[in-house]
């Protein structure tokens, strides 16, 4: 299987501080890949580095094309939707406006209208609340809005940063169900950063473990699920 997204020797810097120390990563097309690791391991930075939000060294290939050093908005225009940690919704704009902004770079209006129906179908609560300000939604609803806004790009690659953060377990389950459907029925490649290892292992095909800015191990999800050491450190049973 060809790597849809690949990072070689990826280093990321915030100012002078080096946060990623030569990370190698390969995300197969049409699959869900998860980055697991503790708080501060560098998962968020990895996703940010991949779409030009930090200073980077090393190479990043997306669909065979070098994208390291490109500005974020140009990477997005290639079909990469990044759903940031803390959701990054436009709190003073309505749910509907947030979704429209997700499709900002697209000019195919008829398809955008279709996609709006599609995300309303995935997340019916967003349709109910389409005229309310995004800031007034609950945490779970805002997370759904953030994912839905990402989908409005009709992305080829979806980067999800800690989608389960601060959500009630029932919301987490609903969200991951949606992620699985999006991946299976639409073939969107997903790269997911998660602390919630059990939820991520359920949906992911392939898993990487990140510690202090490095990949420590990686492999198919079912193999890692069976690994005792990993189960103890990341799943806690």
């Amino acid at each position: 299987m060809r790597a849809f997204l690949e990072a070689n020797g990826l280093e990321a810097y915030y100012g002078w501080t080096k946060v990623l120390h030569g990370l190698d990563l390969s995300v197969p097309e049409g699959k869900v890949t998860a980055l697991l690791g503790a708080n501060g391991a560098g998962k968020t930075t990895t996703l940010r580095a991949l779409c030009g939000m930090t200073t980077v060294k090393g190479q990043i290939f997306y669909d065979g094309q070098r994208i390291d050093g490109k500005p974020t908005e140009e990477i997005v225009r290639l079909g990469v939707a990044h759903v940031p940690e803390g959701r990054g919704t436009f709190a003073n704009l309505t749910v509907f406006e947030n979704l429209l902004l997700g499709a900002y770079t697209r000019s195919d209006r008829a398809k955008v209208a279709e996609d709006l129906d599609r995300v309303y179908h995935y997340f019916p609560v967003l349709k109910e609340r389409r005229t309310s300000q995004a800031g007034l939604l609950s945490g779970g609803e805002q997370q759904m809005l953030a994912v839905a806004r990402g989908l409005m790009l009709r992305p080829r690659l979806l980067l999800l940063d800690e989608p389960s953060l601060g959500l009630a377990p029932i919301m987490v389950a609903e969200l991951f169900r949606a992620v699985r459907t999006i991946n299976q029925t639409e073939g969107v490649t997903v790269l997911l950063a998660e602390q919630n290892a059990s939820a991520a292992l359920d949906v992911a095909h392939h898993v990487y473990l990140v510690e202090t800015g490095r990949i420590v191990t990686g492999g198919p999800a079912e193999v890692l699920r069976g690994d005792d050491a990993i189960r103890r450190s990341y799943l806690g049973y």
Partner: protein, 293 residues
């Protein structure tokens, strides 16, 4: 009573001009956090452009449109060439730059056009209109009408076009805006261009009243600052309300408080700025910046 009503109506007219410049200031402040001290002089300069076009034999409205287009190019270009390279500079440096632009525009206008005052035509008829016991000046009504029309257009732009939505998104959250593919820096240049157009319209409206000369916007700018401070720098609607209030306040204090008269008019604006900052620094309609930590 008749004096009072007349003063209020003419106050609304100058208020419309203050409102426009205040709105231009707020448009830039909201998207970049920068107060553009050169806003008034940019408006003055574009009015001179209109004057040149009129002198070249253009009709009033073609010159009006021409000046607006020139203003847009001027604002857009300034952001690209002067402000953008200083993206990472401290705010104070940028403020000094805009003050520098103020003096440059003032001097260049004086150099090209001299400091002699020039009459500037008004697009509105001169004959007063009688409504009941009141005599209305078409000039006043025209200025108020143009201001309100411009506001309506700006509102429509921000609320029913894709580009307007993108600009609101940038004001609210530049990082997320990049993540949906908005080219943020172009939006900022666009904001400067639009602010310059709003200012240009104000310049064209005020020139017939005060005559055209390089210093004509000095007092207007201070009143516009007072308007934006009163309404709140974070609220476009507030800046407009502030503008109208300041226009009326200027006339009423001038008429009824003999101490103020015409000589201390600017003092009123400065007093309002100081009072607002002391009592309610966010202004009447502004929001305090709230940040989660």
């Amino acid at each position: 009573m008749q004096t009072f009503v007349a003063q209020v109506i003419s106050g609304l007219s100058t208020g419309g001009i203050y409102a426009s410049i205040a709105l231009a200031l707020v448009l830039i402040y909201q998207s970049t956090g920068l107060v553009n001290f050169a806003q008034g002089e940019m408006a003055m300069f574009t009015t001179y452009m209109a004057w040149s076009m009129l002198n070249a034999g253009w009709g009033y409205w073609p010159a009006f449109v021409g000046a607006c287009l020139f203003a847009f190019a001027l604002g857009f270009g300034l952001e690209r060439l002067v402000i953008r390279p200083l993206e990472t500079a401290p705010e104070l440096a940028l403020v000094i730059v805009t003050i520098g632009l103020l003096t440059i525009f003032n001097s260049v206008a004086g150099w090209i056009y001299t400091y002699t005052i020039k009459p500037f035509p008004s697009p509105f008829p001169a004959a007063p209109i009688k409504v009941g016991f009141m005599v209305l000046n078409p000039q006043d009504l025209g200025v108020v009408g143009v201001t309100l029309l411009m506001l309506a257009l700006i509102y429509l732009f921000f609320h029913s076009t894709r580009l307007g939505l993108a600009m609101r998104a940038v004001v609210e959250n530049p990082v997320s805006s990049r993540l949906v593919g908005i080219r943020v820096s172009w939006m900022l240049a666009l904001g400067w261009g639009m602010a310059a157009v709003v200012g240009a319209v104000a310049g064209l409206m005020v020139a017939p009243l005060v005559f055209l000369e390089p210093n004509m916007m000095g007092g207007v700018l201070i009143y516009a600052f007072a308007s934006a401070t009163l309404g709140g720098f974070s609220s476009a609607g507030g800046a407009v309300v502030g503008g109208f209030v300041m226009g009326i306040l200027e006339n009423l204090t001038g008429t009824y408080i003999t101490l103020v008269g015409t000589k201390l008019k600017l003092t009123v604006a400065l007093a309002v700025i100081v009072l607002v900052l002391l009592i309610k620094p966010t202004g009447l309609f502004g929001r305090a910046a709230v940040r989660r930590v």
